[in-house]
Amino acid sequence: MTDAGFVITAWTLTAVVLIAYVAMLFLRIRRGERSLDSPDPRR
């Protein structure tokens, strides 16, 4: 792999990790806030 290949891999990986982490937090928070209104907390 060339230097440019390593650089592109590094920047892409960082973007993917940050986006995936934000998405995971967003989905879990949304599910948690929805369950506040639910009578059964296990849902």
């Binding site: 230097d3 390593f6 650089v7 920047w11 990790v17 928070i29 369950s35 907390p41």
Partner: protein, 264 residues
Amino acid sequence: MEVTGERPERSPDRSRDELLGRTTRRVVAVASIVSLIVLAVFGLWVAPPDAVQGDAQRIMYLHVPAAWIALYVAFGVTALASALYLWKRTRSMVWDRLAGASAEVGVVFTALTLVLGSLWGRPVWGVWWAWDARLVTTAVLFFLYLGYLALRRIPGDPDSCAKRNAIAALIAFVDVPIVHFSVDWWRTLHQKATVFNPALNPHIHGVMALTLWIGVLAFSISYVYLLDRRYRLAVLDEGREEREIEQAIAERTRPRQTAKVGAS
């Protein structure tokens, strides 16, 4: 174990459910996205290639900010919040939640630091990994905080758990100065401190320095946003667990009361 209707005592919760207000959070989110885009433009196009390392050096604009925010900010906040929890005058579950939230974000940034360092090391050093003091102490730090996060998941009395977590966080933080000074204490393949060197004389100039500081700013803002969201999730998780316990207690006490009524 007998199930009674009493709940374990919990330290006072002197806070709201979120760290940032809605408007502030939106501003931070937008600032985070904009600063990361500016970082990409500067890091990939505006900053010149390094005279020795060529384009591979562009990984530094991610690797160094990720390491700084993880070590000095995220794990620093975890240690500070843990100390505030252990101090009786400031004891509050807010600090326990904040410590856990910051540690998780710190672990994500430390994982990024290790992987980005590996991607930088391959073209520059010729190897993906070396048993170098800086690399090993950083890997140890990563596993220490992974262990801390695992410890937080062990159930128990909330106050005892929070105390245990706080002590573990302070023990884990001992590795942070070891990571920082590892390049001075041992002969390492990893370069010595460029900016925070003992003479505080940064050996980086011009557009490269500017790009590095844009990276630090972008990662700092992103950290604030992620910390706020992770804290919110911790509040929601605690609420769900409390409701589940209350429901379990209600389910176990209901038939007993009914049986007593039937017997009399």
